[in-house]
């Protein structure tokens, strides 16, 4: 069964820019999917619609049986509690320690202290930050900060983890480590969607790759279909990445 289902999704911003055109997409429970595409192709818009930061102008988005587009604004938080979201810029609170940053989410739900503590430590352990629970963000490396952000995203055991260019600020080695963390989380049963610009990573991970071009799904490589030949040999993929390097 499809965990995420998009049907004829269109997004027109109030400025008149159409970012997504009649997009269809299915992602299965437990999948790990990369979303790639040139800068401005609509990747962020696409995933923003998943966590209902933006509302689709037309079409239907269903996540785990929930019609995301029909959610009332004041009910959006219920969807968010079932998702984890990770960004390029970590979005950690500088005044809080790693532990407090992760616990923050659970405290927002009003969970009892013991439960917060147990889940927070478990999440930090999973991302490999057991030793750094008391460190403040400015005492952590970029990779470590992103791990904290991932721990915060998964602390409530979400069914879906969405990452928008999680390694955009990190070097190659650290990026790969972060991807390994995401893979572990995926192996524990969480569906993972990663927007990325890093062709190396995509190549090494051998997961499903969805190529977005001008608001449409241009190509959809099933997992393993590019095992043998280098996946960046694909002409469309190359174009996507080349544009990126110019643009950013």
């Amino acid at each position: 069964m499809e965990f995420i289902k998009l049907r004829n999704v269109e997004k027109v911003y109030p400025t008149g820019v159409t970012a997504i055109y009649g997009l269809n997409l299915d992602i299965k429970k437990g999948d790990f999917a990369f979303i790639i595409g040139a800068s401005g192709s609509g990747k962020s818009t696409l995933i923003k619609m998943l966590y209902r930061e933006e509302k689709a102008t037309n079409g239907e988005i269903i996540i785990g049986g929930v019609q995301v587009g029909r959610l009332k604004n004041r009910k959006v938080y219920k969807l968010r509690r079932k998702l984890g979201i990770v960004f390029q810029d970590f979005k950690l609170l500088p005044r809080l320690t790693a532990y407090e940053n992760v616990a923050f989410a659970l405290e927002m739900y009003g969970l009892p202290k013991d439960e917060v503590r147990m889940k927070t430590l478990k999440a930090l352990d999973l991302v490999g930050l057991k030793e750094k629970v008391k460190s403040y963000p400015n005492e952590l490396s970029g990779g470590e900060q992103q791990r904290v952000a991932i721990a915060r995203a998964i602390v409530n055991a979400p069914k879906l983890l969405i990452c928008d260019e999680p390694t955009g600020n990190l070097d190659k080695k650290t990026s790969l480590e972060i991807m390994k963390v995401l893979e572990v989380i995926n192996n524990l049963g969480t569906t993972v969607i990663v927007v990325t610009h890093d062709s190396d990573i995509v190549n090494k991970m051998k997961k499903r790759v969805i190529l977005i071009d001008q608001g449409r799904v241009k190509k959809d490589f099933e997992k393993g279909t590019y095992d043998k030949n280098d996946f960046t040999k694909d002409e469309d993929v190359q174009k996507a990445f080349v544009k990126n390097e110019d643009g950013e």
């Binding site: 968010r80 979201i85 979005k91 739900y109």
Partner: protein, 299 residues
């Protein structure tokens, strides 16, 4: 239980916001303090005025002066006529001799003058002191008495009371206008304070939204911050009300100028006023912060 834990957290956050924004919070708190002090003064003032005008009115008397040539029979006749008037409660007779005696005791000067009069020279009048049942109808009753034959003059303090009331009413209206303007200024300052907090915490709000905090729990700390501003602003006015009024009451023995003007007993009066002040402070604080939240917290 969950709601309670979130509330506790948000109360802590609200307090932290007050402290982090200290200079602005201080401005808001001072403004609330000044406003509430004025509210306290107006309330204490007008409730006291109300209280003593009521007491004055309650034992209000019409003094009826009779023509000097009347015989005792004629005076009794007049008394009977007055008694027939509906609103009259009781009548006491005071002869001009008695009045002269009273006046002698009041001062040395009077004593000298009055002692020099012979009985026939006494220029005072025999009087009836008429107590009325309903002070509202006092002028009507006075008119009726005046029409009775043999009455030289009637006097009652209505004019004095009325002009006193007019003055108090004007003062009260001015105070109301001042208080309302101050409330508006205060609310504006609070809106501004909370706005600054909201802007400085945008990052946190964004993250709260991302991790799935409900809109209500995101707004709560800011509204609570306003509540605290109001609460802190009411501390000084409450203390002033309790201590200053009790002190004033003790110093004056509860009586101002003459035995007519009795002050309201301080207890539980000051506590009731204090509760009202705290409630007003909290309402103004929460009103300001709710406005700021509605206007500046985009969620």
């Amino acid at each position: 239980m969950k709601t309670f834990r979130i509330l506790v957290r948000n109360i802590r956050d609200g307090l932290k916001n007050v402290v982090r924004n200290l200079s602005l919070s201080f401005a808001s708190i001072s403004c609330i303090t000044v406003t509430l002090l004025l509210v306290a003064v107006s309330m204490i003032g007008s409730l006291n005025v109300e209280n003593f005008t009521k007491t004055i009115r309650d034992d209000f008397t019409i003094v009826t002066y009779m023509n000097n040539e009347l015989t005792e029979d004629q005076e009794n006749e007049i008394k009977a006529q007055i008694q027939k008037i509906n609103n009259v409660e009781s009548i006491t007779f005071e002869s001009k001799k008695e009045i002269a005696e009273q006046m002698k005791e009041e001062s040395e000067v009077f004593n000298n003058i009055i002692t020099s009069w012979s009985d026939s020279e006494n220029p005072l009048y025999d009087t009836f002191k008429v107590k009325v049942k309903d002070s509202e109808k006092i002028s009507d009753t006075a008119e009726k008495i005046k029409k009775i034959e043999g009455i030289a003059q009637v006097k009652y303090g209505e004019g004095m009371i009325d002009s006193l009331m007019t003055i108090f009413n004007i003062i009260e209206k001015i105070l109301i206008v001042v208080v309302i303007s101050l409330v508006v200024v205060t609310a504006f300052l609070i809106v501004n304070t909370i706005k600054i907090t909201i802007f400085s915490r945008q990052e946190e709000v964004e993250i709260k939204r991302l991790v799935g905090a409900s809109n209500f729990s995101i707004k709560q700390p800011f509204v609570i911050e306003g509540l605290f501003l109001g609460l802190l602003g009411s501390i000084v006015p409450v203390l002033v009300t309790i201590y200053a009024y009790s002190f004033f009451y003790e110093k004056t023995g509860g009586i101002l100028f003459s035995h007519f003007i009795k002050l309201v007993d301080p207890y539980p009066f000051v506590f009731i006023i204090s509760i009202i002040l705290v409630v007003i402070g909290i309402i103004v604080g929460m009103f300001g912060s709710s406005r700021a939240v509605r206007r500046y917290l985009k969620i």
